[in-house]
């Protein structure tokens, strides 16, 4: 971190503030004169709105991410209990609590040592020893990765075509990409059921055309899960790619052609490397929510192979085992956040090295 003081300069200098106060009338002037100079300086220096503006996203993260995560983490360390809430408290007291009679180091330490901590890691041990969970994790990551890959394969040409259109067409196409999201997500997944099932639209059409003799089994297969995820998350791939590709300077491709690169070569050596950040962003935007996807595999997916989102919900609602469910959630978060943070770290370090 740089040690540069990035604090905004106060808009009001003390001298200016006193001048302004002077204009407001003698009473204000008197107040300002009476207040110790350090007070007025403090107010003037720190009462810029900047601090508040910066604090809002942090506060949001603290309230709606960090705090719930810590609660889940806490639950994952405790034991299951048939009660409400259905887990044991993490802290307890030894039988006779010493009363703090005087504020001395030894008495406070005696008080603190009477707190018992019941945390243990046996839920995590349970997860790692049980193939059901490990398989679910691997299966989820595999499904998410394959789906993200197909989103990229389908989304890249679409984003590329959009970026090459005239501005009017661009906006129309952009709207068309986002338009399906105006309908309920659940409704659209149900629609896929109608399309994919044995007596669904696709099978009926193919049978009527005589292309197949008996209905294809598409429902409750991996294929259906891929279809569902790719269809639902395609906009999250297209949008970052489009914003990236749209910024590309078309003269770069002209320069490549001028230097003897055929169109395919120019794409591979110029457009593709320059769109890498868009590819990574789109991939992560599809991959991360797809790993924890619950609705699509539940409705379209195979019944014998569960994705981790389904396992998690089963643990919570069917088994009522909150600690194990929490542990599943924590492990999933670590599995996802770990690689992303590592990736970001290496990328920013690479960028810094380039700048040197």
């Amino acid at each position: 971190m740089k040690s540069v003081d990035r604090r905004a300069k106060p808009i009001l200098t003390p001298a200016k503030a006193r001048l302004a106060a002077g204009r407001m009338g003698p009473l204000w002037l008197l107040l300002f004169r009476l207040a110790p100079p350090s007070w007025s300086d403090y107010v003037i220096k720190h009462w810029s709105g900047r601090g508040f503006v910066v604090a809002v996203p942090y506060l949001w993260l603290l309230l709606f991410f960090t705090a719930p995560f810590l609660i889940v983490l806490k639950i994952s360390f405790s034991e299951r209990l048939i009660a409400m809430p259905p887990y044991e408290p993490l802290f307890g007291w030894v039988d006779d609590i010493p009363v703090v009679l005087e504020w001395s180091f030894s008495s406070v330490m005696a008080f603190l040592s009477s707190i018992e901590v019941y945390a243990d890691l046996d839920k995590y041990e349970f997860l790692l020893k049980n193939t059901l969970y490990i398989e679910s994790y691997v299966y989820s990551i595999w499904v998410a990765a394959v789906s993200a890959f197909w989103c990229l394969m389908i989304g890249y040409p679409m984003a590329y075509a959009m970026a090459r259109c005239t501005p009017t067409w661009r906006n129309v196409l952009l709207l068309l990409v986002m338009l399906p999201s105006f309908t309920s997500f659940l409704l659209r997944v149900y629609a896929w059921m109608g399309l994919l099932k044995s007596n669904g639209v696709i099978n009926n059409v193919l049978l009527a055309l005589g292309i197949i003799d008996e209905p294809l089994t598409m429902m409750n297969t991996d294929f259906a899960v891929y279809i569902g995820i790719v269809y639902s998350y395609l906009p999250f791939m297209i949008l970052p790619l489009y914003t990236n590709l749209e910024k590309h300077d078309p003269t770069l491709l002209e320069a490549a052609a001028d230097l003897g690169a055929r169109p395919v070569k120019a794409f591979l050596t110029v457009t593709l490397p320059l769109s890498m950040s868009g590819i990574v962003a789109g991939f992560l935007l599809v991959f991360i929510p797809a790993v924890g996807e619950y609705v699509i595999p539940s409705l379209l997916g195979p019944t014998d192979q569960l994705m981790i989102g389904r396992v998690l919900s089963d643990e919570f609602f069917n088994n009522g085992d909150w600690p194990v469910a929490s542990a599943v959630a924590v492990v999933m978060l670590v599995l996802l956040v770990g690689p992303i943070m590592a990736f970001q770290y290496f990328q920013s370090r690479g960028a810094e090295e380039e700048r040197k």
Binding site: T251, L252, E254, A255, L259, G260, P273, E354
Partner: protein, 376 residues
Amino acid sequence: MAEKPAANPRQPERGKEYVRIQNVTKRFGDFTAVNNVSLTIYQGEIFCLLGGSGCGKTTLLRMLAGFENPTSGQIFIDGEDMEDCPPYDRPVNMMFQSYALFPHMSVEKNVAFGLEQDGLPKAEISQRVGEILELVKMGQFARRQPHQLSGGQRQRVALARSLVKRPKLLLLDEPLGALDRKLREQTQFELLGIQERLGVTFVVVTHDQEEAMTLASRIGVMNRGEIVQVGTPTEIYEYPTTRFVADFIGSVNMFEGRLTEDEPDYVRIESADLGGRIYVDHGISAAPDSTVWAAIRPEKIEISRERPQGSDNTVGGTVKEIAYLGDMSVYLVRLQSGRIVRVSQPNAERRNQARITWDDSVWLSWDPSSPVILTQ
């Protein structure tokens, strides 16, 4: 017309014809960007396409590079018809106005790009890249990324990249546009040196007449999609053939008048605009009594307090404005007819007590060979 000026010492012996543009027209919808242009460019010369924005010069250049196809007409490069020849197959390289350096590649990689497309061996590529970077004095920046370079350095890299394939024809689109004045001047001369050493034919597009004058062995002035005049810088400046060219290149005082005496060895023009007569010491081809325009460059007009001899080519006025530019001063003189005339005089003496000042009554006069008589 009077005797042609001596040959430009920089202009090479006219080489063989290298580029032939034949009746080329380019339309974008209803708009005609290039209108029936025919042009021949010879090997080893620096040809400048000069014109204001939207005159079609860049479109013409892009057609040479192959990024646009002519609506009609043909382009021959080295005797070959370029129709259906994509940019990546043309023996031509271009230096883009924006430089178009690949932002994700180092300087080295940028320059090597063209050679890699030809599938040359690695050792040869690195040797040629090194040589060309030395030529443009960018050897020590080989590993930098384009965003780490200044505008002038990027321009050199762009030049190196377009030269490294040793093209016979190099197209330059406003090559010095983004540089500041000092750097531009210096780079102009470096560009000339490089061109001389490599013997490449340059086609330069520019809107900057100074750039065109310094670089070009020949200039083609363009206006509204057409080539108005082609000639050496001296020809263009001293012998413009139309009012547009006279006005576009440098500054000029234009007087409308009537041809009163039309003899084979002199003409006299009566100009109400000037409030006097203009005598020119050579014949022109125009109908007697027709309307003509006399163009006189500011530096060819003498300004003095005393009335010169003779009544032709002399007119009185008052100094309205003086711009001191250091090396010279520009005077704006109001004539009795109300016309403002621009006169420039070199400041040869450091301390000139008798220097003409505001509101002085002055006489303007010029040599009978100075005015250029234009009929269109």
